[in-house]
Each structure stands twice: as C-alpha cells, then as structure tokens.
Symmetry: D2
Subunit: 100 residues, 4 copies
C-alpha cells in the first residue's frame, strides 16, 4: 500500500491548465482499487504502488492526447512497509497531535 501525490503541468498551452488536469483526472476518477483525493496542487492516490504508477502513465497519455507537446509530472511516493498507512490515518495522526 502506498500513498502517492501527483501534479502535472502541461507546457505551451497558456496559463490556464484545468482542462488538461481534468483530462488526466478522468482516468483516475472512480478507478477500482485506488482512492483519490483532488487537491489544489496535488491529486493524492492510495492503493497498490504498481497499479497507481500504471494509472499515472495513463493520466500522462490522456494529457498528450489533448494535443499537448510537453508535460512536467511531479510525483511523491510515501511507501511504508512496517504498517499499512492510509491517507486518513496520516491525517488523523497529525490532527490528534495538533489537538494535544
């Protein structure tokens, strides 16, 4: 189980890029086995790392299919093997300590 944050920036398509972000998001919305949280800078995914990486590759190709020539993709992977950490548990753990 891994938690993966992803950001894609299409180059050469004007300062507004939500249309291209949406094209990528359509690949991952309701994708079986992968939880998704859309954020203002990153979309965060939770699930099997190799399935997530496969989905990211499809998200990239979906952006190229809109006519974009160059895409800068930033990925941050939190892969933990000593325990199964979910997005919710990470948030709850920090919030609990903030409440102390």
């Amino acid at each position: 189980m891994a938690i993966v944050a992803i950001n894609m920036v299409p180059l050469g398509m004007g300062p507004s890029v939500s249309k291209y972000v949406a094209a990528a998001e359509k690949v991952i919305v309701n994708r079986p086995g992968i939880k998704r949280e859309l954020g203002p800078m990153f979309t965060t995914l939770e699930g099997d790392l190799d399935e997530i990486i496969q989905a990211i590759r499809e998200m990239q190709e979906a952006v190229f299919e809109t006519g974009v020539d160059r895409v800068i993709t930033t990925i941050k992977i939190d892969d933990r093997r000593d325990k199964k950490a979910t997005m919710q548990e990470k948030l709850a753990s920090v919030n609990a300590k903030l409440a102390e």
Copy 2:
C-alpha cells in the same frame, strides 16, 4: 497571491514522523492571512508568497527545535499574476470540467 504546497520529512527519527509534522503545523494553524489545507502528503497554503515563505522557515525551525538533525523540505509554488487564483477556484475549475 500564491498557492504553495509543502512537505517536510525529518531524517533519523524513525519511520513515524507525525509528531514532527504536527510541530510544523502548529506554526501555521490559524495564521492570519494564510489559508491552510492539511493533506495526506502536502499541506497547501494560500496567501502572500513572502508571508508564506516566512511561515515555512518558522515551520522548519519548529521541527529542528524538537531535536531533529536533518529536514528535507519539498515546496511547490503556483504563482500566477494574470488573475487571482484561490485553492477553491482551482478545484472548482477542474471539477466543473470533470462534470462536463
């Protein structure tokens, strides 16, 4: 106005780091002039870029004050000058296109 995602990883303090993340978050919770969204991988901030950078420096020092020797900080800045883009507007723009 900028939108800034930040992630801090303290090195050498065990695989669980929420205690150190919380120490950094305490600096930014309810900080005047800066909107904050805690996420599973990044905390996203919205406000004046230089005020946000000042807050990030204080967040870093708060982590060092817990006894950490080394901190890896990842920052992603979306600075737009043609229009005032908020976190909510970015999300709404993508969600609207997803609903089409």
Copy 3:
C-alpha cells in the same frame, strides 16, 4: 524519450543516508539504455520513460532490501513529444542563452 529526476529519502535510518542512496544507485549504474547523472539532490535519468520507471521501482526495492521500513521518493518527469530533448541539449540551450 524522457528526462527524469529522482530523489529517495529512507525514513528511520539516521540522518546519514548515503549508504541507502548507494544501494539504489547500484541498480541504475551502467544500466543499458538509460543515461545517468548523479547530482547532490537528484539523480537524473534519460531514456525510455517506461524503462526508467521500471528501473526506479527496482531502485526502491533495493532500498527496502537494506532493512528500511519507509521510503519517500520524489520523481520529476520531463516528457516532450515535439522533439527529442536530451539532458545535454537542455543544458546547452540554457548555457547558450546565458552566454548571450
């Protein structure tokens, strides 16, 4: 052809991590079809994107095999389809403009 920067941070193994970085680098040194440039913060790879992603997965597993429980991996992909851009061409292009 893509250019990919990668950084791996093992958590819970002390502030010095070069031993774990080296374990990952051993996977990619002299790997056929992938050019490699070791930098102070990122290792930059050049080649077929899917081959590079496969290599990155092996690099991650090599770090886990040293006994690490948690690895934070940051990846930045520059994937360009309008022309074949190499690491050297990107550097030469910037340096040429710096010399103007």
Copy 4:
C-alpha cells in the same frame, strides 16, 4: 548551510522554456556566497538557506519580468544541522559506497 534544488516552469509560453530558465539563472550565476550547479532538471545551490531563498525569489521575479503570467516553482531543501554537508561531500559519500 543548506543544499537546495530548484526548478521553474513558466506556463503559457510554448514548450521551449530555456529562455526563461536562463533569465532566472542570470540572477544566481556568480552570486557571492552561493555555489551553483546547473543540472538538466534542477539547479542545485549551496549556501546560507535564507540567502538562497532570497535569491530564489529574485529568480522568480526575473522570469515574471520576461512577460510570463504564471510560474510553477519546485524547491527541495536539504537542511542538516549535525554537520556541514556540501554538494561535493554528498556526491563523494555516495560514490565511495558505490566503489565498495
């Protein structure tokens, strides 16, 4: 002493961006107190963290001054307080272990 990797992506200016990268680099070339290493994905800087952050802000403004409306900046900071780690020492430490 910190080591900081920085990448800037101007949005809306075509797929080729070396002209804008060069505008930012001009701010940091031969800057007193800051060592610089230009890489294919990141420029890596070494020096006092607050001086580096000030330089980064000037690099961002230099890109806006070329007429760009939106800039995505990715920054990765390695700040170590238990010993003074330079770019060269980090590389030497990994290369030494690769040679074992």
